[in-house]
């Protein structure tokens, strides 16, 4: 199915010809082309399915009818209403503030942990590494309710402190994965070379290692931001009713019977998160061309 591939090893192509000289003529190739076209169409359908509700929501956020009635009449009314909505605005600023703190803390802790595993070998390393990932492997419902119980038991209670504690823990494994992946492309000999030239531990870290893995660190930081900014479940259990994050505020607005303003803020959120991840993808390729 990859008849257009010109990158394949030459020897293999010639081998294929020499061992199978009687390959049936053109017909199967056109079957391949047809399958390829169907497959291409399928990918487009999948993308359509993924974006359909998001596009509809964006459209409705600019539709005059509060009951989402078609035909479409353009308005910016709901975005204006959003600008006057103190509750949603306050929640949005709180979300951004928490996401920024989460980014800072999870990046510092995550880079330190990644460096530790990069530099040192010791017994039980695999076990210790595995212990970093429960926040990803356990359903957030369980992590969130456990945090609620514990923070109440030790007197932190609910609120922004509790949310920040939780978000950093959730973001850490993502930062460590991304920074760790970048470190795998960095050769430890460089650190040794710097050391042999008389650099101190701090100098090595700041002037050799960190500059080399900077794209990974930035990508990890953006992951941390995205994890925190999008987080709903854990924030939901840990937030004080009067003072919560944007997703929790949106959830309660939906459950109360929502207004088109929610479409407007949701559209903004989607654009912001997708924009963030677009930047990440520039810095850190998710398995694109190697």
């Amino acid at each position: 199915m990859k008849q257009h591939n010109t990158a394949g090893p030459l020897e293999l192509d010639s081998l294929a010809i020499s061992t199978a000289p009687h390959t049936p003529s053109r017909r199967p190739w056109s079957v391949g082309a047809a399958l390829g076209a169907i497959g291409y169409g399928y990918v487009v359908v999948v993308i359509g399915f993924l974006y359909l509700p998001i596009l509809v929501m964006a459209l409705m956020s600019a539709n005059a009818s509060p009951l989402y009635e078609l035909p479409f009449h353009f308005t910016v009314h709901w975005y204006q209403a959003l600008a006057d909505d103190g509750v949603l605005k306050a929640a949005a600023f709180r979300s951004i503030e928490i996401a920024l703190w989460t980014t800072l803390l999870s990046t510092i802790l995550g880079v330190m942990a990644s460096l530790a595993f990069f530099r040192y070998d010791f017994a039980g390393k695999r076990f210790l590494q595995a212990m970093l990932f429960p926040p990803m492997a356990i359903p957030w419902l369980i992590t969130g309710t456990a945090m609620l119980i514990f923070f109440f038991a030790i007197g932190i209670g609910r609120g922004l402190h509790a949310i920040l504690l939780g978000h950093v823990a959730l973001a850490l494994p993502y930062v460590i994965i991304v920074v760790g992946a970048r470190l795998r492309t960095f050769s430890p000999e460089l650190e040794l070379a710097a050391r042999s030239l008389g650099a101190s531990g701090w100098q090595i870290t700041w002037r050799v290692t960190l500059p080399a893995i900077a794209p990974g660190v930035v990508a990890g930081a953006l992951f941390g931001f995205a994890v925190s900014f999008d987080q709903f479940v854990v924030s939901y259990f840990l937030s004080d009713p009067g003072e919560t994050t944007l997703p929790v505020e949106i959830y309660s607005a939906i459950r109360k019977g929502f207004t088109p303003e929610i479409n407007a803020i949701s559209t903004i959120i989607i654009v912001v998160s997708m924009g963030t991840m677009l930047i990440v993808s520039r810095l850190y390729r998710f398995g694109g061309e190697q």
Binding site: L12, G39, L67, R119, R255, M274
Partner: protein, 290 residues
């Protein structure tokens, strides 16, 4: 090839832990201690903060075993999760195959990014956006009524299919990503070799590609299954009154009924099931690896 950067002073474990220690302390405070305290709570007869007397008891777990409703909901949640996982895997594989093995160059990168992007946008907002597509008078309804000669009333909102559609929409990018990563790791020359030996498309797919992609697809399936078992926001928003699952019951124990010990016991039962499934999944994928 790891080595201790400053081996003269201190053992590698000690040095590693001075770097990774803060991350572990954070996870201890925000994840491991909370889980331990929740385990303890699940054996309590009452919440100590309410001032009443409490004692250790198995009653909360016995309630789960005695009450057919909880068992039924647990089975229902596992069923939903299995269904969503299966649909995501089946829909995601052809898409991942096209991206990994057929589509090349810049269009591959662009399409891949388009599929992955929604995964990093807000999950709550994406679930909410289906409302405008599925509701009576929504997009599906509107399109059907304009294509079909007689009026039809399609209201898919607040139904079981709506929950499945929303969850598949949420986790499909994950299934594509994991299948893509394992498909991309398959050497193209293997496929060429099989073809030159006269293997047909189906044989190559069945005997070569599927077995080699299986570990990655299993990992993707596990990563979809685990969070869906504990889903509560999606069933609430898309299922309405039909959206009662074990996740929503646990949520109720913490935010509405305030029976934290029972909620803790239900959470731990769920966690035990999830860990068992994770374990089996890991085992299966490791065996397939060899």
């Amino acid at each position: 090839m790891k080595f201790a950067l400053s081996s003269p002073q201190g053992r590698p474990l000690v040095r590693a832990m001075t770097l990774a220690g803060p991350a572990y302390m954070w996870l201890l405070l925000a994840v491991f201690l909370p889980l331990s305290v929740m385990l303890f709570y699940s054996f309590m007869s009452d919440v100590p903060t309410s001032g009443g007397n409490w004692s250790l008891t198995f009653q909360n777990y016995l309630t789960f075993l005695d009450e057919p409703l909880y068992r039924k909901l647990m089975v229902r949640s596992l069923g939903l999760s299995a269904q969503v996982t299966l649909i995501c895997t089946v829909l995601g594989f052809p898409c991942a195959y096209m991206l990994a093995k057929v589509i090349r160059g810049r269009s591959r990168e662009a399409l891949f990014l388009l599929i992955i992007l929604p995964f990093w946008s807000n999950g709550l907002v994406r679930i909410f956006s289906w409302n405008m597509v599925l509701r009576s008078g929504g997009v599906v309804d509107w399109v059907l009524n304009h294509l079909w000669p007689w009026p039809v009333d399609t209201d898919l909102m607040f139904s079981y299919p709506a929950i499945v559609i929303g969850l598949v929409h949420s986790y499909l990018p994950y299934a594509v990503l994991t299948a893509y990563l394992s498909l991309q790791a398959i050497d193209d020359s293997l496929i060429e070799a099989a073809r030159s030996m006269g293997a047909g498309r189906l044989t190559i797919l069945r005997r070569l590609i599927l077995p080699l992609a299986m570990p990655g697809m299993l990992a993707g399936a596990v990563l979809t299954f685990v969070p869906v078992v504990g889903a509560f926001m999606e069933p609430r928003l898309l299922g309405g009154r039909k959206g009662t699952f074990i996740g929503t019951v646990i949520e109720d124990q913490f935010v509405a009924v305030f029976n934290w010990p029972l909620g803790a016991a239900l959470s731990f039962t769920l966690l035990a099931l999830v860990l068992a499934i994770l374990f089996i999944g890991m085992r299966l994928s490791r065996r397939k690896d060899k």
